[in-house]
């Protein structure tokens, strides 16, 4: 049962453990600290009796470890599991043999550690050419369209996040492309306009 000062990493003194909410100063560095405690801090560390793991005659054993007592059943494949093999994922018990291939084929949300935000990448690629007078948009526009089509349906973030970045990126790219097309058309008409009076003369 220890809590450390975030500034000097020294253990906080005894008075911080006498009430659920305590404000005070670290006795080592004097930093003002507010601590909010919860019962888990005082929960004794779980001790497993090695004897309880071994099986008696007639008891179910773990699928992977035949000498260990089964304590759970895999929710996916139904195998008996010992305390070592039991893995809790999003309120369900899985065995490692089910968990590893399931996570490899498509990440399980409760286990995901990171995600790449392709919608932000597309938006950056769509807006970045504006800094260079839109010349790079000839290269970046196809990449934005590819990213939007390829990753439109894939969940972008684990927390609420709409598709507006993809939408805005596509709109900007549409504007960039239509601007280029219109400028080309306007230049052609302008060139014809210059030539025509000369031809009339």
């Amino acid at each position: 049962m220890l809590i450390f000062c975030p500034s000097c990493n020294a253990p906080l003194p005894e008075r911080f453990f006498r009430q659920p909410r305590v404000e005070g100063s670290c006795s080592t560095c004097g930093t003002k600290v507010a601590v909010t405690l919860f019962p888990a801090l005082f929960r004794p560390a779980a001790r497993i009796d090695p004897q309880s793991l071994t099986t008696a005659e007639g008891e179910a054993t773990c699928f992977e470890h035949s000498s260990k007592r089964a304590v759970a059943v895999c929710n996916k494949c139904g195998r008996f599991l010992c305390a070592l093999c039991e893995v809790e994922v999003a309120g369900q018990v899985w065995c490692p043999s089910c968990l590893i291939p399931a996570n490899a084929s498509g990440p399980i949300q409760a286990l995901e550690q990171s995600r790449t935000l392709f919608d932000s990448i597309a938006l950056a690629l769509a807006t970045f050419p504006a800094l260079l007078f839109f010349y790079p948009s000839i290269l970046t526009a196809p990449v934005v369209v590819y990213l939007a089509i390829r990753y439109w349906k894939r969940p972008s973030s684990m927390v609420p996040r709409g598709k507006w970045r993809f939408t805005v990126a596509l709109i900007i790219v549409l504007v960039e492309i239509s601007f280029i097309v219109f400028v080309i058309i306007a230049l052609i008409i302008y060139q014809q306009g210059i030539r025509q009076p000369v031809a009339q003369k």
Binding site: F4, S7, R18, V35, F38, E112, T116, L174, F182
Partner: protein
């Protein structure tokens, strides 16, 4: 909160130019999100495992980028005030100085560093940089954690073995974390929907004024010059797009407001095309005036402006009808359960 996104945001967030951090409340855990603009990393802390929150009072500057922007603005406004060009630039200088003083006050007197402790880790929570946000977050989470772990007594006994006996078990009549989270999500949804719809109404109002302005210019309303008229139109588009984007940011995650979202996206597309075409139409009109004569060029310009005004008017009127037809659903942020 939806099945796809089972989280509600907790107070406090960090948004720099490159890095960001936020904290989210889930049914049985809190989710700490850290990352750059293009990547997010997640850490989960289950309510049953949380031992303590430690908040240290210390100065936190936040994103360095905002300080650089403020400094640049301050220098520009100082130079402008010294030369009195443009006039009244001292007003901007005063405003920037006030923002700077407020930011310094927050940095040095209202900031903190918060960390969360479990049996196996002690992790900083970078989103909780301000003391008010940290206090609000901890107050909101105390109930969830107590529902899982029980409550500590007001005076904690000295002996560890006595503490276990003194812990009050979780009250079974206390609403479950899932139901509390659902209620919070409903409140948040309603708040977002109300703000989003109000901003959409403002955007439609600006669009309506823009369409009237376009018709007025097209029917011979005299401004200083054609260039002034064009830039006034672009200013209208820019001002009108601000509430459109703000509204979309609020209603983005609400499936019940799909129709309004589609309308706002259409407004963005039309505005973008107007800007893109505006330049080209100017060149085409000038070219037509040169080749076909002044009348034909002016006719083309007027035809384009009238079409423009009609599209804006149709979008604004359609938006108003849509909002008032689905008023109850849009204000609530979800379809009626009855």
């Amino acid at each position: 909160m939806t099945p796809d996104f089972p989280y509600v945001q907790l107070p406090g967030s960090y948004r720099g130019f490159f890095r960001k951090a936020s904290l989210w409340e889930g049914v049985d855990h809190i989710l700490s999100v850290k990352g750059t603009r293009f990547n997010e990393e997640y850490r989960r802390f289950y309510y049953r495992d949380i031992q303590a929150f430690v908040v240290e009072n210390r100065a936190r500057a936040g994103s360095i980028g905002w300080w650089i922007v403020l400094l640049i603005l301050l220098i520009i406004s100082l130079v402008a005030t010294a030369e009195n060009d443009p006039p009244y630039s001292w007003v901007v200088l005063v405003a920037i100085s006030v923002v700077l003083v407020v930011r310094l006050e927050i940095t040095f007197r209202r900031s903190c560093r918060c960390s969360i402790q479990t049996a196996v880790s002690r992790e900083p929570l970078p989103s909780l940089m301000r003391r008010t946000a940290a206090a609000a977050t901890i107050a909101r989470l105390e109930g969830r954690i107590a529902a899982e772990q029980g409550d500590l007594p007001a005076e904690i006994p000295f002996k560890e073995e006595d503490v276990a006996a003194a812990i009050r078990p979780a009250d079974p009549s206390r609403p479950s974390p899932a139901s509390v989270l659902e209620q919070a999500a409903v409140r948040e949804r309603r708040h977002s929907a109300e703000l989003g719809v109000n901003l959409a109404i403002l955007a439609l109002f600006i669009l309506l004024i823009n369409s009237v302005f376009t018709f007025w210019v097209s029917s011979g309303g005299k401004l200083v010059s054609a260039m002034t008229a064009a830039w006034s139109g672009y200013s209208f588009i820019a001002v009108g797009l601000i509430p459109v984007f703000l509204s979309l940011s609020y209603i983005g995650g609400l499936p019940a407001l799909k129709g309004l979202r589609a309308l706002l996206v259409t407004i963005i597309v039309v505005s973008a095309l107007r800007v893109a075409m505006g330049f080209a139409v100017g060149i085409i009109t000038a070219s037509l005036v040169r080749t076909q004569g002044t009348n034909f060029g002016a006719l083309f310009g007027r035809y384009y402006a009238n079409t423009n005004g009609a599209i804006q008017f149709a979008l604004a009127a359609g938006g108003v009808i849509l909002i008032f037809a689905k008023w109850e659903t849009y204000r609530r942020g979800e379809k009626s359960s009855s």
